[in-house]
């Protein structure tokens, strides 16, 4: 007896866990993983709603989101690698030249 509401609640929970992770973790890789978690929670929302609305549009959107998520990881890792080449640690706390 699973209605779309269950999926909406579940995805809201997963989204919150991801958002919480981005805010409290200091390792960029973990932060990327949390962003991925948030994107996938949105995917789940799309599918749940598409099922509830009996509409294919929401399911198609998921593919676009997946492409975006993959591209985002590529860009993010490239920036981390560029920073790692110059210094040993790359936690968010090391990046503190710019402030004010």
């Amino acid at each position: 007896m699973l209605t779309p509401t269950y999926y909406l609640v579940l995805s809201a929970l997963v989204f919150s866990i991801g958002a919480f992770g981005v805010l409290v973790r200091r390792n960029p890789l973990i932060m990327f993983m949390c962003v991925e978690l948030m994107l996938n929670a949105v995917n789940l929302t799309f599918i749940g709603l598409a099922w509830g609305l009996n509409d294919i549009g929401g399911q198609v959107s998921v593919f676009f989101v997946m492409v975006v998520a993959a591209a985002e990881v590529v860009v993010g890792l490239a920036i981390v690698v560029a920073i790692m080449r110059r210094r040993d640690g790359a936690t968010a706390d090391d990046l503190s030249v710019l402030r004010g």
Binding site: P28, M38, V42, G57, G58, I83
Partner: protein
């Protein structure tokens, strides 16, 4: 027999897509060319990317005439809107890319960072911005936004030898990706509430029926506002702006403040002010608070800065507050005023950043007040141009900045948002003080000893001249541009041409 069936496909009006094709394909072609011929000269790459932007602008002019004859329409099953609004923003965004490319040319030579990548990424970012301006579908708009953002993340981390640049890229990326997920979640909830991601469809749903359980819709709009105000750098989602502006290469900052801002506001105007116009009472209070905070905090934080580039970053935050006045007016007048503001501000800020590119010198790191001291004596021409830009940003009459500020405030008053309009006027006064501070430093203080001689490269000179001309011309004759802005409205029309 089955194979003979026609697969239904939407009609595609290729002419409408021409601006995006010019910039996107132009960028990809030059990227391919470098992999065949490794050492393409810098001047060729720069002229190529300026030509691609010129192509986009010329096709926009052709489209404008066609729009005048046939009126607005949309293509690819209503996903791409063809209206005055998108054509007008094409000109703004393509000009921003062209100016950033021109600034980047001497910058790359000076910093010994030769390569085609910066120009390619600028073109691709511009393409993303155009998709945001044209997108009549929330998913199409989101793809445009991501194309734009990802290119700009890399652009800010572009300076390989400056750790500040990479730090800026990293900060922008993490916060940008974070805010994009909120935006996307908002899109998903709006889809759930209305059953479509197409803005024409959403508007039709809102016009024809009252949504009783509107929790999904309101939650979706709230998340959408979070994501979009982050992209335009509005308070309370502004904290990345000063860091990224300070760290990123100066030509890239010129594009972020002009092109990225224009694309972000394009989305705000198209989605909030037009698509959600029927439920204007639900979202305007939120934007009112955001606009007021942006105006005040942007101007107040700018005063205490000791770094000119950071100061201008905060000033660009307060400018975002002004443009938000046009958004929350949610009227044709507000949209026209915001478009006028975006056009003139794109030239203003590119000119300002052009000056900083020259002044900062090798290393692109000295933005202290000493670096601009006595600029009026060291290089009178540059000092004069900077003075015009600062006057315009402060909103002194006979510059485009005055007309732009007046336009958005009048639009806000027109739609009875009195208190925010009052806050905007206070913010303009505070802002005047900060621009005056830079001017005092430039004209009343002596240059520091052993200040290096300043040379204005020809391409930067071109940007400076065009920015000064636009600022003065539309300051004295605002009607020339305002006529176009009045016609450049968002039309959510489903019809095909």
């Amino acid at each position: 027999m089955m194979l003979a069936q026609v697969i239904p496909s939407p009609s595609i009006d290729i002419e409408v897509l021409l601006p995006m094709l010019f910039m996107g394909v132009g960028g990809l072609l030059i990227l391919t060319m470098t992999s065949v011929k490794k050492d393409l000269p810098g001047w060729f790459v720069t002229s190529w990317s300026v030509a691609a932007c010129a192509g986009a602008i010329i096709s926009a002019i052709v489209l404008w005439n066609q729009f005048g004859d046939d009126g607005p329409s949309s293509t690819i099953a209503g996903a791409v809107g063809f209206d005055g609004f998108s054509i007008f923003l094409t000109v703004v965004i393509a000009s921003a890319v062209a100016m950033a490319s021109l600034l980047a040319h001497p910058y790359l030579e000076r910093e010994e960072l030769e390569g085609v990548e910066l120009h390619v990424l600028l073109l691709l970012a511009g393409t993303g911005g155009l998709i945001m301006a044209f997108g009549n579908d929330l998913i199409v708009f989101f793809l445009g936004l991501e194309t734009l953002s990802m290119a700009v993340y890399i652009l800010s981390a572009m300076h390989r030898r400056r750790i500040q640049s990479q730090e800026a890229g990293m900060k922008y990326f993490v916060l940008g990706a974070f805010s994009s997920t909120f935006l996307l979640y908002g899109i998903a909830l709006i889809y759930g509430a209305t059953g479509t991601t197409n803005m024409i469809g959403i508007r039709a749903v809102l016009d024809n029926q009252v949504i009783v359980e509107d929790g999904l819709l309101l939650g979706g709009i709230a998340l959408l506002i979070v994501g979009l105000t982050f992209k335009v750098g509005a308070v309370p989602f502004h904290s990345w702006t000063p860091d990224v502006y300070e760290g990123a290469p100066t030509p890239v900052v010129a594009f972020m403040a002009s092109g990225v801002k224009a694309a972000g506001f394009a989305a705000l105007l198209r989605i909030l002010s037009t698509t959600f116009q029927p439920i204007v009472d639900d979202w305007v209070p939120a934007i009112e608070v955001i606009a007021a905070l942006t105006l005040l905090i942007g101007a107040l934080s700018a005063i205490v800065q000791t770094n000119v580039k950071r100061m201008l970053a905060y000033s660009s935050i307060s400018h975002a507050g002004f443009i938000l006045l046009g958004v929350l007016a949610a009227s044709e007048r507000g949209t026209a005023a915001a478009l006028f503001y975006l056009f003139t501000y794109a030239f203003l800020v590119s000119g300002t950043m052009a000056t900083l590119t020259v002044v900062a010198g090798q290393g692109d790191s000295d933005f202290s007040f000493e670096s601009i001291q006595g600029l009026g004596r060291r290089k009178p021409i540059l000092g004069f141009a900077m003075m015009i830009f600062l006057f315009a940003q402060a909103g002194i009459p006979f510059t485009s900045g005055f007309v732009a500020k007046f336009g958005v405030i009048a639009a806000a008053v027109d739609s009875q948002n009195y208190w925010v309009a009052g806050v905007a006027m206070i913010s303009a006064v505070i802002g005047a003080f900060l621009y005056l501070r830079i001017l005092v430093s430039m004209f009343l203080q002596d240059p520091v000893e052993d200040a290096p001689a300043l040379v204005i490269p020809r391409t930067i000179g071109t940007v400076l001249v065009s920015a000064v001309v636009v600022t003065i011309l539309f300051g004295i004759f605002p009607g020339l541009l305002d006529g176009f802005a009045q016609d450049a409205l968002v039309a959510l029309t489903a019809g095909t041409p």
